[in-house]
């Protein structure tokens, strides 16, 4: 799977999650969404493909393509020659790939550098924080122990509490904190404690890494924002679970009060952030202990979305080949033509002499130098019009074959998957449709 395919598959899944999230966010345990984002991240970072009959891509394939088995030809009897309708821009592909590659790498570097600088700057500021000397804090730390030791410090440079550090977590409180308001302190510290316990700063770094790799994908940016919000929502949920469901209104009011003390003046009415805090408040107030129903619903949503969107279409065999005895061979290899055979606008084929195919030819004892040495790099040959119009589309659909696939074909011929013929028969032009003069052995003499 190429990066672009991974990004596209990820984008489709993100789209599905956005819709699910908008519809049922307060009905499901928030863990559901974190699990879904987790699957998207795996999808976006690892180039595996799990074929599934229930994949949306299988369904789309069935409806749009009407995928009849493609019969490329009754090979030993007659291989139909197809006029290729390869789009002209194929000629540019090998050039453009490297350009896109460079743009992508530059983008990744810029993003990484940008976030690294922001992180480094923040980190520098965090380290200038001052210790807190407070009895409540001391007793709170005494009752909230983790394997990693938590430190609480203060800074006048930040106006909201935050947590940093994965292995040596530090809760950073604004200097303006009302330290004596132990009720609100309890909520704030528990919130940060949950973040630490869940390794949320690590999760955020992974999200950032995905963003840097898929910087060109706008849906990944949306995912980044939504996933960060869902981390907060899940954290809130956990706080209520820890402190008791009857505290949720109190907790919500604490959050609102903190927003209030922060607002000195309003430079710009920002609708987006208003919705963020509103989403949080509503989510807290609507929190209910997960029922079995919501757990089952959440689990099946994760399972369903994964099978539908994180898998790829089930591959159907590319070709049936039927020989004279009506034995049908099914195989996934591609037949003839390679990436290095290109078609220009006049329908002429050109042959790229730099092809690794040459090595292959020599393997089979074919003097490939004749290809390379010919003073014209382009070997031109025109295919006759096809006698079978129905099969026209076959070629246009699969216009690009890599050397690997080409090798596979030759291996298939070798291993007898195409019954009745050997590679030498193709080379010597004994196979109908592959006669010398018609196919790519044209300039052989």
């Amino acid at each position: 799977m190429s990066l672009l395919q991974m990004s596209f598959a990820g984008a489709i899944m993100i789209l599905a999650i956005i819709i699910i999230r908008a519809l049922v966010i307060n009905l499901l345990p928030k863990k559901t969404f974190l699990a879904l984002w987790g699957i998207v991240i795996v999808r976006l970072l690892f180039p595996f493909s799990l074929p599934s009959a229930f994949s949306v891509y299988s369904l789309i394939g069935k409806h749009t393509q009407k995928k009849d088995p493609q019969i490329i030809g009754m090979l030993p009897i007659e291989v139909k020659r197809q006029v290729s309708t390869i789009p002209n821009n194929i000629l540019n592909i090998s050039n453009s790939i490297s350009i896109w590659m460079i743009i992508w790498i530059v983008g990744v570097l810029i993003c990484t550098l940008f976030f690294a600088i922001v992180y480094w700057k923040c980190r520098q500021e965090f380290q200038m924080s001052l210790p807190v000397d407070n009895d409540f804090i001391k007793s709170w730390l005494g009752t909230h122990r983790l394997k990693r030791s938590i430190a609480i410090r203060q800074s006048s440079r930040f106006s909201a509490p935050l947590t940093y550090g994965v292995f040596h977590p530090v809760i950073l409180m604004p200097t303006s904190t009302e330290w004596e308001n132990t009720n609100s302190m309890r909520y704030v510290l528990t919130h940060e404690y949950v973040h630490i316990r869940r390794f949320d700063s690590l999760t955020k770094l992974v999200l950032l890494a995905v963003l840097c790799v898929h910087w060109f994908n706008p849906l990944v940016w949306i995912m980044y924002i939504l996933a960060n919000r869902d981390i907060e929502l899940l954290c809130d949920e956990e706080v209520i679970r820890l402190l008791g469901e009857n505290t949720k209104a109190d907790y919500a009011r604490t959050l609102i009060n903190m927003e209030e003390t922060q607002s000195g003046f309003v430079p710009l009415c920002n609708n987006f952030s208003k919705n963020v805090i509103e989403e949080r408040i509503v989510s807290i107030m609507k929190y209910k202990k997960s029922s079995i129903f919501s757990l089952v619903l959440g689990f099946s949503l994760v399972f369903g979305t994964t099978t539908a969107f994180a898998t790829s279409a089930q591959k159907e065999p590319d070709y049936f080949i039927t020989d004279e005895d009506d034995n049908t061979t099914i195989f996934n290899g591609k037949l003839m033509a390679s990436q290095k055979f290109l078609v220009d606008e006049n329908g002429k084929y050109t042959y790229d002499s730099n092809s690794e195919l040459d090595a292959l030819f020599s393997e089979f004892g074919i003097p490939s130098t004749k290809f390379i040495d010919s003073d014209i790099n382009d070997i031109k040959f025109t295919l006759e019009d096809t006698s079978n119009q129905n099969q026209d589309h076959l070629f246009s659909q699969r216009s690009l074959y890599t050397e690997e696939e080409m090798e596979q074909i030759i291996a298939d011929i070798e291993s007898g998957k195409i019954p009745g013929y050997q590679i030498s028969d193709f080379v010597e032009g004994k196979v109908p449709g592959f006669e010398a003069g018609d196919w790519f052995f044209i300039n052989f003499d």
Binding site: F114, I117, V118, K121, C122, Q124, E125, Q127, M128, S129, L130, P131, Q154, S155, S156, R157, F158, S159, A160, T175, S176, Y224, I225, N228, R229, A249, A252, R253, I256, E259, E260, Q262, S263, G264, F265, V266, P267, L268, C269, N270, F272, S273, K274, V276, I277, E278, I281, V282, M285, K286
Partner: protein, 119 residues
């Protein structure tokens, strides 16, 4: 003279106000013991104070001299999540991504209303 210094910068200044002119190394060692700062952190802060005109540096040994008396310094407070030090776009994008901005009184009122309604 109107110099605004942050808490952390004031910690550096208070060493100078208490002990007089000292080398940067001395400040770094002292604040490492008191506050747990690493050497780089202290040096960054000293440089910020120099930039703000609160400290004068002289050689040798990076000697630091307080240019302003304690009484003339004002305490700076940050109202924004991240201050201007991150000049320009960096913090703007970051805050935008995390969706933190101040709310108006009306918006706060509406949020309280929501809590009341759902309670």
């Amino acid at each position: 003279m109107d110099i605004k210094l942050f808490d952390s910068e004031l910690k550096v200044m208070s060493v100078l106000w208490r002990d007089g002119d000292v080398p940067a190394k001395y400040i770094a060692k002292l604040l490492n013991e008191d506050l747990g700062w690493n050497v780089n952190t202290t040096y960054t802060l000293i440089k910020r104070c120099i930039k703000k005109g609160a400290i004068e540096r002289s050689e040798p040994n990076f000697m630091c001299h307080a240019l302003v008396p304690k009484e003339e310094v004002q305490k700076a407070e940050t109202n924004e999540l991240i201050d201007k030090v991150y000049d320009g776009s960096v913090d703007k994008l970051f805050t935008a991504l995390l969706g933190r901005k101040k709310l108006s009184a009306a918006q706060i009122e509406k949020l309280k209303q929501i809590v009341g309604d759902l309670e």
